[in-house]
Amino acid sequence: MLSTEEISEIEAEAAHYPRRDAVCIDAMRIVQRHRGWVSDDSLHDIAAHLGMSVTDLDSVATFYNLIFRRPVGRHVIMICDSVSCWVMGYDRMREHLGTRLGIGLGETTSDNRFTLLPIVCLGCCDRAPAMMVDDDLHSDLDPQKIDRALETYT
């Protein structure tokens, strides 16, 4: 069941489009903001609310990088693997994160604290290498800076 709050947020966005199903990406983002990810149940509820088929909605969901169809940890780390960050030391940063957290890309720590995901260019190339943790951008990374940043997410 979608919550009243989720429905009212979806309806506010839906007013921006002439067709109801156009809001489906916003709707999934809204539900994800409340629940962390988009489960099969959420997908069914959103599809029913918007009068779409579940299959159509899932084909959209799986197309987009920022819509999570699997559960994620309390905090999502997105490390930029595009060209400027790659030149400036992405491999070392990913290895450091992997060692420190004990997980690879696409995985979640056993305490459910962090999920590590790759992301394309974050538009922060002059301060590469870069990563986002939840809504925060961290740039000019080195292993010590990564360690300090991670400590602030509990």
Partner: protein, 429 residues
């Protein structure tokens, strides 16, 4: 000190990175161009003509003449309704970080540009299509849009005129294809961001089947200044016929990576050596991608080329987004090409065979080369793939864009590719 009008796009920006709010924007003559258009009796065609005369070319990378794009939209009482204006703020081209600055630091400049562009094409509804990762830009744009509504720059009968415009912010679900003009339209309709067949072109049949103009952030930000100061002034800002200023940037192992508003036509060398400070100590320049991942490498021999759409095309590359990615001698050119092909293969939407099939194949060949498994015929395979990607072989520019760094890497760094195969290893590992 150069007069402020030499850097119109960044003149209001504060050193501390804080946002220019509506009051500060108005105090810096902000929204005067909207007043001039709406209260000065300008017609939509007059606005479009002013932008045409200024030779404003699209700053998203393709360089299409903006006024010409606007002129394709049907106007008047018999035109289909509604007409849409979309700002493409889906800055996802690897190595590109220019629109972020404009969005975060001076959002009202963009909104003013959109109101004027909207008036020129008689748009009823406008969207800013923003990539989902630009969280700070989203916060600041939302606030700026609310401020603009409160001050009657948006909504019904703007500043008491007959013109009305609704402006909405859409946050993307995240995919490189959303930056492609027709992929963006599908994304905004709540679909997968596959490209559409053209023609018909979006100015005639676009969002929800209605006339639609899609313009880049930096392009729209130029518009108020052209209206305020005129085409001759805009031409005088640039050093070449591709008029105006341009946000140029540099990333990679240069001394001072960054972003600078400079005259269009500033040479690559000046950007690289004077503004970015040249290479870091201990590394040597080998080449650069002039404007994002989907532009051809250039090398030492090209450094005195002016960065503009025309001159960069003449040397077999493109200015693209104007933010250059520098390759140094401590970085493997094959590895860098692998990284680029990995990106394009991952972001291919899967619609056209040369793209989904070819990019994956090329990525695998480059992976094997990096792992010491390269074969003698590999370079021919890579070259033939780059040819097969177009232009003209696919619906959109993703694969032709991917071909640019691949074909030019094979041209300028051929020895390095051959060495990987011959020595059965990556010499940089």
């Amino acid at each position: 000190m150069t007069p402020v009008t030499d850097k119109p796009l960044t003149k209001n920006m504060r050193p501390d990175g804080s946002v220019v709010d509506i009051r500060a924007y108005e105090q810096a003559d902000g929204y005067q161009a909207v007043r001039k258009v709406l209260h000065g009796g300008m017609t939509p065609n007059a606005v479009t003509d002013a932008v045409k005369d200024a030779n404003l070319r699209g700053r998203g990378g393709a360089g299409f003449p903006t006024g010409q794009k606007w002129s394709f939209v049907p106007l008047g009482n018999n035109a289909p309704t509604p007409t849409y204006l979309i700002c493409n703020a889906d800055e996802m081209e690897p190595g590109t970080f220019k629109d972020r600055l404009l969005l975060e630091r001076d959002p009202h400049q963009l909104i003013e540009g959109m109101i004027i562009a909207g008036f020129a094409i008689e748009a009823d509804v406008a969207y800013i299509f923003l990539r989902g990762e630009y969280v700070l830009a989203a916060e600041r744009l939302s606030r700026a849009i609310a401020e603009a509504y409160d001050a009657h720059y948006l909504g019904k009968n703007i500043l008491g005129s007959d013109y009305s415009l609704e402006l909405y912010l859409h946050l993307s679900g995240g995919r490189y294809m959303c930056g492609e003009e027709t992929g963006l339209l599908n994304a905004l309709e709540g679909k997968r961001a596959n490209p559409r067949s053209k023609p018909p072109f979006p100015p005639v049949v676009g969002l929800f089947g209605k006339p639609t103009v899609v313009n880049n952030v930096e392009t729209l930000c130029c518009v108020p200044h052209i209206i305020n100061h005129g085409a001759a002034w805009f031409h005088a800002l640039g050093r070449t016929h591709d008029a105006g200023t341009k946000l140029f940037g540099a990333s990679g192992k240069v001394k001072r990576p960054g972003l600078w508003e400079l005259p269009m036509g500033t040479t690559i060398r000046e950007i690289l050596e004077e503004h970015a400070g040249g290479m870091r100590d201990g590394v040597t320049f080998r080449g650069l991608l002039p404007g994002g991942a989907s532009t051809d490498f250039v090398t030492e021999e090209h450094l005195d080329t002016p960065m503009d759409f025309t001159a960069m095309a003449k040397i077999g590359s493109r200015m693209g987004t104007g933010t250059m990615i520098v390759l140094d001698d401590q970085t493997c050119p094959v590895g860098m090409t692998w990284n680029l092909m990995h990106f394009f293969a991952q972001e291919s939407c899967g619609w056209c065979t040369p793209c989904w099939s070819g990019l994956g194949w090329v990525e695998r060949i480059l992976t094997s080369m990096e792992d010491g498994q390269g074969q003698p015929g590999d370079l021919d395979k890579l070259a033939s793939q780059a040819k097969m990607w177009g232009p003209g072989a696919t619906f959109c520019a993703l694969a032709p864009g991917a071909a640019e760094p691949l074909q030019s890497a094979l041209k300028y760094f051929r020895d390095d590719f051959e060495r990987h195969i011959r020595e059965k290893r990556c010499p940089w590992r």
